[in-house]
């Protein structure tokens, strides 16, 4: 139960990570593709859950355990990117850039449908 709540709480942070990561590490040529790959992996995981779970559903209690084991294996070797200088995309005032771009986005009428349909934390910098 607690694990389920924790994974649900973690999802918005996981959804917001690709935009910052691709902004930091990728140039303008590959940034869109990188963000797309990482963002589309989320619904891919949902689709995989719908497909694979019936094959693993010998007992209903075993499925979350197996997925949890996989998550532990995945989550341990985190990339330590903070000390490595990367490309130049972040300016010297990242907090200003965040608030400025969010205020700029909110003033655009074309952003509102995108916000209402997608409604993910990645839309809000």
């Amino acid at each position: 139960m607690f694990g389920q709540v924790l994974s649900g709480i973690a999802q918005p942070f996981v959804l917001a990570a690709p935009t910052t990561y691709s902004d930091l590490w990728f140039t303008s040529e590959g940034r869109v593709a990188a963000t797309a790959v990482m963002t589309l992996a989320n619904p891919l995981g949902g689709a995989l859950a719908q497909l694979v779970d019936p094959f693993w559903a010998n007992t209903p209690e075993d499925i979350p355990n197996m997925v949890l084991y996989i998550a532990i294996i995945v989550g341990v070797p985190l990339p330590s990117n903070s000390s490595v200088p990367s490309s130049d995309q972040l300016s010297s005032h990242p907090s200003q850039q965040s608030l400025l771009s969010s205020s700029t986005l909110n003033r655009q009428p074309r952003f509102l449908p995108l916000l209402s349909t997608q409604n993910s934390p990645s839309c809000h910098p």
Binding site: M1, G3, Q4, V5, S7, G8, I9, Q11, P12, L15, P18, Y21, S22, W25, T27, S28, E29, A34, M38, T39, A41, N42, P43, L44, G45, G46, L48, A49, Q50, D53, P60, I63, P64, V67, L68, I70, A71, V74, G75, P77, L78, N81, V84, S86, S87, H93, P94, S95, Q96, Q97, S98, L99, L100, T104, R107, Q108, N119, S120, P121, H124
Partner: protein
């Protein structure tokens, strides 16, 4: 600093120096054709702020016109060099770019955010990229897959838990609701930021955008 074997250097938008204005025009047209311009290009004038309703306007200012006086375009006997000057003034006119985008187009210390500006004095910026970024990409993608897999398991557990007792069903319902709605109200919570002092002390530095900000002056 020695470059490691895994690093690779990419060079963007390298425009070699040319001798004649006609070659400049050809190169400018080539550079513009490769750029990602989503709006019709308009020429920046110093007569006013233009018709844009956004307060972040595209006016480059009067001083910038003087900076673009190169020896190729100043005294020109060719009629098409004026077109080159027009091209040099044009920007992609995307008001979502913000103030930071304007600061780079005026000098050799500029950083090009992907806008291919056809200027004869365009600086060539080399970006150093690392191959380890693909490892982070793979890991973040895998992380997204696993997290959404777990959330889907939560969502699927509700119909599967129908045979359980009522207490477990209520708990499952509550978990599903919390996890489903958390994505929606987390950005709103960040924006409301009820207690600024609390944010100041408990959030890391890069998220302290709710203090009194020092905005870029839009003149």
């Amino acid at each position: 600093m020695a470059r490691s074997a895994h690093d690779s250097v990419l060079t963007q938008n390298r425009i070699p120096p040319t001798a004649s204005a006609r070659e400049d025009l050809t190169l400018a047209k080539k550079a513009l054709s490769g750029s990602m311009t989503m709006r019709p290009l308009r020429k920046d004038t110093n007569t006013g702020r233009g018709s844009s309703s956004n307060h972040i306007d595209s006016n480059l200012g009067t001083g910038d016109i003087n900076r673009l006086d190169t020896n190729c375009t100043k005294d020109s006997e060719f009629g098409d060099v004026r077109e080159l000057e027009t091209i040099a003034h044009i920007r992609s006119d995307d008001e979502l770019l913000g103030a930071e985008e304007r600061s780079y187009s005026f000098g050799a210390s500029a950083s090009n955010h992907g806008n291919d500006e056809a200027s004869t004095v365009a600086p060539t910026i080399e970006y150093k990229v690392y191959r380890r970024r693909y490892f982070g990409l793979f890991q973040l993608a895998l992380l997204n897959i696993i997290v959404s897999w777990d959330v889907s398991n939560i969502l699927n557990s509700f119909p599967a838990g129908y045979h359980l007792d009522k207490g477990s069903q209520a708990k499952n319902q509550l978990v599903v609701i919390i996890c489903s709605e958390f994505d929606h109200y987390l950005p709103i919570l960040r924006r409301l930021c009820i207690c600024r002092k609390l944010v100041q002390y408990f959030l890391p530095i890069r998220f302290r955008c709710y203090q009194s900000p020092h905005y870029v002056d839009f003149k």
